[in-house]
Amino acid sequence: MAQAPDIQAKRLSKAQLEANFANLHAPLNAHEAFVESDRCYFCFDPPCMKACPTSIDIPLFIREIQTGHPKSAAKTIFDQNILGGMCARVCPTETLCEEACVREHAEGKPVKIGLLQRYATDAAMADEHPYGRGKFSGKKVAVVGAGPAGLACAHRLAMHGHDITMFEAQKKAGGLNEFGIAAYKTVDDFAQREVDFVLAIGGITIEHDKALGKGLTLEQLEKDYDAVFLGVGYAGVNELGLKHENSKGVEDAVYKIAALRQSKDLSKLKVGRRVVVIGGGMTAIDIALQSKLLGAEEVSILYRRGREHMRASAYEQELALSHGVAICEWVMPKKLITKDGHAIGLKIEGTVMKGKKLVGTGKTYELAADVVFKAIGQTFVDMTAGALALEDGRIKVDEGKRTSRPKIWAGGDCVAGNKALTVAAVDDGRRAAESINTFLRGSHHG
């Protein structure tokens, strides 16, 4: 384990990289969409619709595709989920709508709802924006964070006629759609195209480089606006709690993914020859797979329990495995091995369940690595200086996504109970907007 770490760019040719980062699933063509839509049984009280966090009327939109109106289908989708285009690309449908599809139970072959949703939304997004802004209500709402939750909230508020100012810490809107989602799920700058699509309703302005806690305060927003929505996501990442965690070669997966998403030339991105990823969620899979696609030779995911316990779905695990990523289950990192301030490997211990507790087996071994990625979860960082009640470390909200302060709502990754999926953030945003609208209309004077 004494070799110098091997981390370099240009492991693959440009053409190879381009092929690797192309669409994960090719979009359906018209004929395929027609045939696939014919498979939907138009079920009663549809299980797929119940499994969708945004409750899209799936059988209806599929029938609209079947009868030659993909744009009506898109409208049916957007009515519930204005980011239906992104959700069609990133939703783990295998654990949501497609898992619930009766044909999944019958044949193990669900209707390809995600791909049909993409077919419909792609058709409509080439067109004029399908919604008009409601008549101006005279009310102003501040939306902090322009991720999926913030965008969905702002759009629904604009439909209700309110004026919205979004405050976004980054120079680009989109949140993790722009900085987090795996590149092959959202090709051709889709995240920004979708932001433009959402904003086309009008009545929404975004102020970039404006962050709550850095200049902006909750008190000021409460004073200046009739209502406030927080969609700030997770700002922090969990630490392993090991010595030498700050060594070179030990990286946070989410930052590396953000760099990858922002890179204009993937051949310039440095990647290790042997990559070890610690974690079991979507982020772990994404960094492992994308490292592989960038040309890493050996990529292993270390997970402290069994594969069935991973947050990443079986489908995603399969995707990683089929690209040559190894998943080592029932192991935990014990010690970082470093040389000259650079990580060169890990000491690992086996794990086992003892009753309800996960404990080390005492058996250890060493694993060489040029890069170690931490992907063990993200955390909400409270930038409101304790102004809002929290629950399990995230902002506490009611059914309508209202926080403990009457003029403040919140949704997405930053609120307690949220599933930390794009679609869950969109659902929170829309629900909050409806609740804010009821509040603003109720407090209407004159």
Binding site: F42, F44, L60, R63, T67, H69, K71, S72, K75
Partner: protein
């Protein structure tokens, strides 16, 4: 947004989608669910005379033809008219109409061919405050054996007579529902008009036996080893209904006579086609029985989008637009020349077009070029029959291309831009006579 409202013989409804007289409209429970789901109106399941109601079989009353993935293509039934007491139906009709004033409520009727019977029932139906009546002269099974339904609908004189009685005894609009089990549908339509009816609706179901069970040799559905013909409906009958509607729409004796179209209507497109063929609204039965009431959502959204895209603000804006384009064969332009064209980029080389043309048609497709499998149409043999287009599994791979100039490679004749039809053709003995 397109305005979907319709006014059919004075009966207003928020959209042109009515449920046809059948099980979906048999009782308050169903009809209220239908209205909640957004249907524009209903024709209540056919009522019969007061007294002991008819009885249905207690075994299967339906049969069907399915596509490969169990898509229901054709539907068959041996159900009779309502088997619930008249008074119960009338009370429910009244109650539902009161609660759903904006929806159309038409009541379907079938009583024996006697003046007194019609007079009696009409008086009672009027009390429900419904919007109109539909005379069921169409049911082809069971009731026809008792001299009702299609037994009346097949005799134009009877139709005219009964309609006259009805118009005499009620001020409500009278719609006559026609049977397709007849040679020339214009005859009963003319009779209905002559009797003073306000409109016709068509089609009722077509005599059918969907299968024979090859073990018991009994037709399906089988009741204790025997079967009877039923009435066919669903997507399979749409072309028949569309043609019959077109016949009435362009018959000089029934020109402008309001039509409520029925038969296989399953999507917005079917509805748009029937309305373009002059229907004032459409009625649906099998599609609702197959998929549930919720399908009306797609029908409404689809029709509305299509109208928006085409710039039609109201149903009247496109109603009847197809009628002038329907003509008799003898008036089709025989100087119109087209050739099939295979798009080589889309062709998957299955050879179905070749088999069809070579075995059964005009031997106008080649299957080899430069020693390779290759399918191409030979213009000098192609009569443009469209068979290859229809059997090709790839959409838009084979298309018909009009030839507007030069020489038709098959006949060696110069393309004549002037239209000419059979009535003018030299081979037509009638046309020769005219020329003499």
């Amino acid at each position: 947004m397109a305005d979907l409202r319709t006014d059919f013989v004075g009966i207003k409804s928020p959209n042109p989608f009515w449920l046809a007289s059948a099980p979906p409209t048999d009782k308050e429970y169903n009809v209220v669910r239908a209205f909640k789901a957004g249907w524009g109106g209903v024709v209540w399941k056919t009522l019969g005379e007061d007294g002991p109601p008819v009885v249905n079989v207690n075994g299967p009353r339906y049969g069907a033809i399915h596509g490969a993935d169990r898509r229901l293509l054709g539907f068959n039934n041996i159900e009779l008219i309502t088997d619930r007491p008249l008074e119960v139906n009338l009370q429910e009709i009244k109650k539902v109409k009161r609660e759903w004033k904006d929806r159309a409520m038409v009541v379907s009727l079938m009583v024996p061919c006697e003046e007194e019977s019609w007079k009696k029932i009409l008086r009672r139906v009027e009390e429900t405050e419904c919007d109109g009546v539909e005379l069921n002269f169409g049911c082809p099974h069971g009731m026809s054996e008792r001299g009702m339904g299609s037994a009346v609908g097949q005799v134009p004189e009877y139709i005219e007579m009964v309609v006259r009685w009805c118009k005499q005894y009620t001020r409500m609009p009278v719609i006559v529902k026609l049977t397709p089990n007849i040679t020339d549908v214009r005859k009963p339509a003319r009779a209905a008009r002559a009797g003073g009816a306000d409109a016709v609706s068509l089609i009722n179901t077509i005599n059918s036996i969907t299968h024979v069970d090859l073990d018991s040799f009994a037709p399906m559905p089988t009741i204790d080893g025997k079967g009877s013909h039923g009435g066919y409906c669903g997507p399979a009958v749409k072309p028949i209904a569309l043609s019959m509607v077109s016949e009435i729409a362009r018959d000089s004796e029934t020109l402008g006579f309001p039509i409520s179209a029925i038969g296989g209507i399953t999507t917005w497109r079917d509805a748009a086609e029937f309305i373009s063929m002059s229907a004032g609204n459409v009625q649906v039965c099998t599609a609702a029985m197959t998929y549930g009431f919720r399908i009306v959502d797609e029908m409404k959204s689809g029709l509305s989008r299509w109208m928006d895209e085409k710039g039609y603000a109201t149903i009247e804006d496109f109603r009847g637009r197809a009628v002038p384009h329907v003509t008799d064969w003898q008036y089709l332009n025989l100087n119109y020349i087209a050739k099939a064209k295979i798009n080589q980029d889309l062709c998957i080389k299955c050879g179905r077009c070749y088999a069809a043309c070579e075995d059964t048609s005009h031997q106008a497709i080649m299957m080899e070029k430069d020693g390779k499998r290759h399918f191409e149409v030979m213009d000098d043999e192609c009569v443009a029959c469209n068979l290859c287009v229809e059997v090709c599994p790839v959409q838009d791979c084979i298309t018909m291309v009009q030839q507007t100039s030069g020489v038709d490679a098959r006949t060696g004749r110069e393309i004549n831009p002037e239209p000419a039809n059979w009535t003018q053709h030299p081979n037509n003995p009638m046309s020769l006579k005219a020329a003499e």
